[in-house]
Amino acid sequence: MPSFSHKDNAVLRTGAVAGQLVRAIWAGAMVLLLLQVMPALAQETAKGAEAYRAFPLFGSRLAVWGIAQIHLNFAAFILGVPIFAVIVEIMGMRTKDPRYDWLAHQFVKLVFAAFSTTALLGGLLLFLLIGYYPKFFSYLTGIFYSTMWIYAALFFLETFTVYLWYYGWDWLSGSRKWIHLGLGILANLFGTAILLISNAWVTFMMSPRGVDEAGKLTSLWQAINNYTWMPINIHRILANIVFGGTIAAAYAAFRFLSAKTHEERALYDWMGYIGNFVAISSLLVLPFAGYYLGREIYSFNQTMGITMMGGFMSWLWVLQAILIGVLFIGSNYYLWLGMERIPGAERYRKYIPYLIMVLAAGFMVWATPRSMVVTLQESRAMGGTHHPVLGFLGVMSAKNTAVNLMILTTFLSFLLYRRANRISVKPWAGMGMAAQWVIFGLAAVIVTFYGVYGYFVESIVRIGFSVYQVMAVLGAIVLVMTIDIPMFKGARSTGTIRWGQIPPRSQYVLILLAVTFTWLMGLMGFARSGIRQHWHVYGVMRDTSVDAVTPALGYAANVITTVTAIFFAMVFFIFWLGSLGEKGKHPHGMGPATAGSSEDRR
């Protein structure tokens, strides 16, 4: 290492990091070892050994469920955070603002701390599956054996790349910064590849393809590229970014709340804002990815789709809608609170009640239970079996409309926030703003028009409408920003943002968002695997164990809450360990303007 940024703690930190690496490698080696013996195990079980073993105390299913969910949370975190660490690093390179570089480094540090835990949990999950679901797992191994090697190899590559990325931060700075950025991007490519491979296994269980009726493999590529693979890939990548963002923001919130100096508060206020910003940007597109996934499930198997949206799982979507409503409303609220620290923002306060109204209305429509795909017969039959007033709003048309309007509203909040302390000096500013309002209005009209018109056409046509709605919203966002950026270039400032001067309750909102999103991930995990019902591999391999019952929502919620609480406790512990190394570092100027190692570097 040519230069150490934090000389006082270099030794201590090197020791801790080396320990991390050793643990990660150990876990990786265990996985490789298991892969080695797996064919033998598979043969053992094929010889007619038992198909299941019972996990002591609370049963195999719960054991696998819990560990899989915690593993998944960690995995999502270590895949999601690097994506925006890279984005933040790029922003730092472009703006030359050292804060960004410091922030990116902080984020990678968080990832680093979580790395070995993820690997260990993955190894544990593998043990559980082999030990307690031997027959099923040997079947899955038989299909995907070759990809498991690639997976393990990628995991090593990913570990080393992140290691280099993190450790080379100061070494690869200045003119070598590009190499460093390349490492970050490479780490993300490896990470995404890992995600794609494990998604293939999971989605195969849900919508198998590439096997004949007896379950024998006919095409590995088709088994990988099954119906839900691509939609889940997209969905998970987006969700991972949201997740990484909310966790990082929650971390910042925690640091904000326990900060002792104003500088610290300012810094962590800013960090929380960036984390939340990234999360929301990705959250805005997530509903569309969700609809795409739903559509593919329907085209894979009608019965599965209907069971999911209208069958025993229908209430789950009500709960999901509530959680998403909390996310949207929470993030808007955070932006509004944030405006209080911006001089000049009072001008926009009068809009907020209207925004609240749109959000609340959208929320209500979204939370109305109804299946997603409706036939003509259904809409005729509607009335009796549904809520007399809201029932009609529950069809897909209305939901799409509601979610699109909520997205527009959130974007508007963001826009107001953006200009809170700025007054455009461009002579055409008046016209520019008028044009923006017209675009907003048009988008809202288009969305509403197709939403209403959707009731009068058949479902196939209606599904096409949602495309127009999305295009209108995305188009509006692009157009409005195209006007906004030049309009506020060199704008007159009504005062700088007073970072750190935000009410503490805003920080609780960030924590609320992180908790809600993590919980939502647990819920969606339950939906994804519960929808298979009594199948390990849908339509191919039955679950004949004592745990074949798919539990009701209440039970699932209890599990999800327990798992989420354990997850946060573990994260907290890991972050706390990480912070031990930086004790005594705070006092010297960590204020936003001069933050971090980039200053020490010179």
């Binding site: 069958g311 799982m313 036939t375 849908y538």
Partner: protein
Amino acid sequence: MQVPVTLKVSAFALFVMGVYTYYANSIPQLQSKPPEELSLEGGNVTPDQLVKAGEEIFKGKGTCEICHRIGQKGTRAPDLAGVGARAAKSKPGMSAKAYLIESLLSPAAHLVQGYPAIMPKVDKPPIALNRSEVWALTAFLESLGGTVTVKLDDIPKTAGAAPAGGAAPAAELKLPGDPKAGQAVFMGKGACIACHKAGPIGASPVGPDLTQIGKIQTPDYIMAKILDPASMGTVAGYPPGLMPRTFGQTLTAKEYLDVVSFLLTQKGEGPAAKK
């Protein structure tokens, strides 16, 4: 003061999750129970027991209720009240029980007017009822307005013969057509391509995508659909009467068989099967 903040934040997080958990526990709790295997072969059962068993299958393992209702206009499928009586008249020359059995085993062979072909074959995964269960279910359907006459021997031996996870593929119908030549007809003389897509061929959205037609439909259906589109009902979401009715006159017998064979190879497994 690290401790109070930690406590406050943890309490807050637990409270939030507590609210979600409470809500989730306060709404209707629906479990999905794995189906029981029922075997009645060889045993003596009274019609009453049979009907009762059938009703349980209808409500449980058969998952019929996600589409059908009895005595209430279903959302996705016809009301089954009185089907035991109505079945005798549904298809000319077919007895009530034969029609009901056909409805269960090859639902697409005769579509109820106005409904799309979404009903799954009940003896195939994912429902995968065995022969006894199909028997009981038929008895139950007969009991809705009719009399129970079905015997186990009425249910084809092949029904449910292929238990999930270790099954021989369903017997495939061999047509004397040539799929290759059929593809040429599809793209050329028949001009089906003007309205349909089949795997990598064509892209027209006018008619339904036929990429999977060989998997989701029976040969009977496809043959009838080409000769007389109206006889098979209209695929949901498409305008009726658009598909030409003249292929019976314009195509030769060989071209007709070829194009059917071609469609039967469309099992949605080609690389272009997924959009």
